[in-house]
């Protein structure tokens, strides 16, 4: 089994270049604008897209993504908007995954969810609060539909945990750069490199680093030791500040371009 995301990582590895992954919740600020934002991200140089399923109780997220999710839910965003935006993103040529807390997936039906992700061309799903002990159902449905299962590991993960969780992962391993919630930080924590080094000693799957990356310089720093750089809050913040009209979209594209240049210069 090889998903578009797997292929992207293989290709980028051969070029010795990390990939840039951009995050956006479905339906934010509206579904129509979300589609334009995704396009601006990709036009600017984002390589892969992470569509967020806006959830009422996002305990992994800081204020920026919380506010975005709340707004999306108020606009009526739900599972249909997630699949719809996923399809848009895939059609624009970017390998795409969905990031969702477990509650909505379980409510929708694990089997149905996996089938719909596959049907809409998604490569897989990031599950930030699904522990591998609770994963039996998801494992079998994702395998049946040839989807990547992306789990998050953290600096606090023990070596034993790291080796168990990374064995469950496919596509890439999501390394949380620090202990905390999503949101921009002034600097990349030293924990990030340490964690990636620890992951490398138990797994040779691609590793992408998320949480706190928002600038070109941080992207460059992370790209020097990781296979992927994940940026979410920084894009959302632009929309919160400048909207998603001409000005906002231009800023989104500029940020994507600058992050991408940062990654390029890390080669």
């Amino acid at each position: 089994m090889s998903t578009p995301l797997d292929k992207l990582f293989t290709l980028s590895k051969s070029k010795n270049r990390a990939i840039l992954i951009g995050y956006l919740p479905a339906g934010f600020p509206t579904q129509k604008k979300a589609k334009k934002i995704i396009k601006a991200m990709i036009d600017g140089g984002v390589d892969a897209i992470e569509i967020g399923y806006p959830y009422s109780d996002p305990v992994m997220d800081g204020p920026v993504i919380q506010a975005a999710s709340e707004q999306a839910i108020e606009n009526g965003a739900g599972v249909n908007e997630v699949f719809d935006l996923l399809k848009t993103s895939v059609n624009l040529g970017a390998p795409s995954v969905v990031m969702s807390y477990w509650s909505p997936i379980e409510k929708y039906g694990v089997e149905k969810f996996a089938i719909e992700i596959a049907k809409n061309g998604g490569s897989g799903v990031i599950t930030p609060d699904l522990t591998y002990e609770e994963s039996d159902d998801w494992r079998s449905q994702a395998q049946k539909n040839s989807l990547n299962r992306i789990y998050v590991v953290a600096p606090s993960s023990s070596d034993d945990r790291l080796s168990k969780v990374t064995k469950e992962c496919s596509g890439f391993i999501y390394a949380a750069s620090l202990m905390g919630v999503t949101g921009a930080r002034a600097s990349v924590s030293a924990n990030a490199k340490q964690l990636v080094d620890r992951i490398r000693s138990v797994s040779n799957k691609p590793v992408a680093v998320g949480l706190g990356v928002s600038t070109k310089q941080q992207a460059q720093e992370v790209a020097a030791f990781a296979d992927g750089v994940i940026v979410g809050s920084a894009f959302i913040k632009i929309v919160q500040e400048s909207g998603a009209g001409r000005k906002g979209l231009k800023r989104i594209k500029q940020l994507a371009k600058s992050l991408s240049e940062g990654i390029e210069s890390a080669k």
Binding site: K107, T131, S156, G180
Partner: protein, 403 residues
């Protein structure tokens, strides 16, 4: 048979009660949850720990709490014999202190210096602030902004005790959102901080730990009722928010098949109106706050806001052990509306001279219902989980009393 040792219906090692429970949390918290589970197991096996906790309960909490027979109240409950387990007389005014002292000792054992807590009615926050003062710990309490208003007295108490109270302005601004904020704090500060969760919900091992520390209510009450009446009660009743006072009094009776275990949920304006917090009566299985249980949610898996006149019951989830006991048919859960609860509240004030918490009033309203169903030969044991000082403003507003 040693009642203190009965552990049937226990969870498996991963914290599953049948299909419920478990852990649905960011990987960042796993190490802390494992550490906590280990600390609890070690402490449970250590006689020194039990000695220390028993001594605290004797000299600080005021345990054992007494049983009061409510003879005048009984006239309104079909003449059934009504026995009140007086957790309202505990230091800080509710059952919450039982769990808090236990977890504070575990915090000390884990070498952590900071505790965080969520609170709805403020009773768990006050108990946590109290334990923090007693043990010299830093304490931050997250409380929904809406609850800081309806339980203003408890906010002041927490501050007097030296705790920092953080009003939470996200979402419904109640208990659910306070738990979200506490989890975010914990993910960030887990190395130095213990999350002192106040009810039998959340990821494993919380439902088991909190139950183990609340079982003392049922262990004492079972003995006291046997001494007083010579037999087991026909039914044991408790209000259910997250479910800690209920599981605390139910658990030691689980093996006593003749004893009905009845949880009273917050029916708000009526389950049929959608404005309620009756999670088992009006919800469905799902995942919330790290555990699988009954949840109030919509078709997209979004948590639906709960509604109750009682801040402590205003929660759209419930502990996984209750979900399991419900499905097994070992315990029953019924909704009690705001109006039913306030009627029972007033009745206990005037018939017994006891002002209960509005949370507790739901259990009392249940006793009126069950007493009338079972008649005068029945004996009902009710967990009087807390006192109503904190609710004087809400009650005065409800009854239109000028203050």
């Amino acid at each position: 048979m040693d009642i203190a040792k009965i552990k049937s219906f226990d969870s498996d090692v991963l914290g599953h009660f049948g299909p419920y429970g478990g852990r649905f949390v960011p990987e960042a918290l796993i190490a802390a949850l494992d550490e906590l589970a280990d600390a609890h197991l070690t402490a449970q096996a250590d006689p020194e720990f039990h000695k220390e906790l028993d001594n605290l309960h004797k000299t600080y909490t005021g345990r054992p709490s007494i049983i009061t027979e409510a003879k005048r109240f009984s006239e309104y409950a079909g003449g059934a014999r009504v026995l009140l387990k007086r957790e309202d007389l505990n230091h800080t005014g509710s059952h919450k202190i039982n769990n808090v002292l236990g977890q504070a000792l575990l915090t000390k054992r884990m070498g952590k210096k900071r505790i965080i807590a969520e609170t709805g009615a403020g009773q768990h926050g006050v108990a946590s602030a109290t334990a923090a003062a007693l043990f010299g710990l830093e304490c931050v309490v997250y409380m929904g902004e809406a609850d800081t208003k309806r339980q203003a007295l408890n906010v002041a108490r927490m501050k007097l005790l030296g705790a920092e109270v953080v009003p939470v302005t996200q979402g419904s601004k109640t208990l659910k959102d306070a738990i979200n904020e506490a989890m975010r704090d914990w993910v960030t500060n887990v190395e130095t901080t213990h999350y002192l969760l106040g009810t039998v919900a959340g990821p494993h091992p919380f439902p088991t730990i909190v139950r183990d520390f609340q079982r003392i209510i049922g262990v004492e009450a079972r003995k006291q009722v046997l001494e007083l009446t010579g037999k087991l009660p026909d039914a044991v009743l408790a209000c259910v928010g997250g479910g800690s006072n209920a599981i605390g009094i139910f658990h030691p009776f689980i093996e006593d098949k003749s004893v009905r275990l009845i949880g009273l949920e917050a029916g708000g304006k009526g389950v049929e109106t959608g404005f309620h917090a009756a999670t088992i009566s009006g919800g469905s299985p799902g995942v919330l706050h790290g555990t699988r249980s009954y949840v109030l949610q919509d078709k997209n898996g979004q948590t639906v806001e709960s509604h109750s006149i009682s801040a402590g019951l205003d929660y759209p989830g419930v502990g996984p052990e209750h979900a399991y006991l419900n499905d097994l048919g070992r315990a029953e859960y019924r909704p009690i509306t705001d109006d039913q609860a306030m009627y029972a509240f007033s009745l206990l004030c005037k018939s017994e001279g006891i002002i209960p918490a509005i949370e507790t009033a739901h259990a009392l309203a249940g006793a009126l219902e069950i007493g009338n169903e079972l008649g005068k030969d029945a004996t009902l044991l009710i967990n009087l989980s807390g006192r109503g000082d904190k609710d004087v403003q809400t009650a005065a507003d409800y009854f239109g009393l000028p203050l």
